[in-house]
Amino acid sequence: MADFEPKIIIFSCFYCGYSAADLAGSLRLQYPANVRLIEMPCSGKTDARVLLEAFERGADGVYVVGCMEGDCHFLKGNIRAKKRVRYVKKLLDEIGIGGERLEMFNLSSSMGPRFAEVAREFTEKIRKLGPSPLNKGGDCR
């Protein structure tokens, strides 16, 4: 599995993670090309359904980026996102994908270096976990 390149989807709040990613780019920081960023109006908009859909469509790992707790632009969106992520992690455990493939991170828009760090850490984590059971072809059993 040495050549395994995980496919990772980030559902990121427009106000923090998305700006942090922008900053990481402006700072010329390297982070893995495995991550694909989807802009959300707020992390709280991230529904259980889209998280599942990401896995169903081939993601090996997914994470949600919301503002620092207490700093949500919409007051409580990130707290709600946290609850939804917790719910979907449990669901992923039940259906055999593994809840550890989904996480939530809290960033602020000034945390460009941290954004790159999170992307690297999560990519490494998923690389160690290996491909999602859905992406292993016929030998997943």
């Binding site: 359904r49 599942l52 169903e56 259906i95 055999g96 994908i97 859905l134 997943c140």
Partner: protein, 223 residues
């Protein structure tokens, strides 16, 4: 509304068995409001089942449909075009009524995805509580709008009983004593004298006695 709760995923998976193609049918009524069986829950459940089965190497095809209501024949009829020969079973995310309506109308194996719990309402987002015992003969006018039939653990009509401690029910310390609530409310409304009247035993023949109940309104019948 009727409040329902989704069965554990493992149980639903077992009910589906070896089916290859299923209709996942939501209901736009009560179960949408109590976040158990609306369009969104249909999407999440169907995706979870598909992923589980794909992982097991036994892919499942799902067709997602959410009817306006599953307890009305005219809406149940709208499912007809989706009930094709290759559909192995119908998974209904309605209350027990909807499941039965689908089973009556279509010659398919119909399984419930929810457990129907009670008639109640939400007390905060994500929390629902039983409020009506569906006893068939409302007595809320006697008790200040608080139902002793369902909110009193003993359903007594001349309460409170000796188990009422500091306004709580002895059955569960989290449950307020319905008769304490009734007393407090009647006192606040200046109607304590109404409680002096002894209530005779309730006529339960309006409730679950004598088989399924029926309401007939000739004035609105078409035929």
């Amino acid at each position: 509304m009727i409040v329902a709760e989704q069965k554990p995923l493992a149980e639903i998976d077992k009910l589906i068995g070896e089916a290859k193609k299923i209709l996942v049918v939501g209901c736009g009524g009560c179960v949408t409001v109590c976040l158990a069986g609306g369009e969104k829950e249909v999407g999440i459940l169907a995706a979870a089942l598909r992923i589980k089965r794909k992982k097991e190497g036994n892919p499942l095809e799902t067709v997602e449909v959410t009817l306006t209501r599953q307890c009305d024949p005219e809406y149940v009829q709208q499912l007809e075009k989706y009930v094709t020969d290759d559909v192995d079973l119908i998974l209904s995310l309605a209350c027990g009524v909807g499941v039965q309506y689908l089973a009556e109308r279509y010659n398919k194996w119909v399984v419930p995805a929810l457990n129907t719990k009670f008639a109640g309402g939400s007390i905060q987002h994500g929390v629902w509580e039983e409020r009506c015992g569906l006893c068939g003969e409302c007595i809320l006018y006697k008790t200040g709008g608080i139902c002793p039939i369902i909110r009193c653990s003993k359903s007594i009509l001349n309460g409170p009983c000796g188990g009422s401690q500091n306004g709580r029910c002895e059955v569960n310390k989290d449950t307020p004593c319905a008769w304490q609530l009734i007393y407090d409310r009647m006192k606040a409304l200046g109607k304590l004298d109404l409680l002096l009247e002894i209530q005779p035993p309730k006529d339960w023949s309006y409730a679950r006695d004598g088989g399924p109940r029926k309401v007939v309104r000739e004035d609105v019948m078409i035929e």
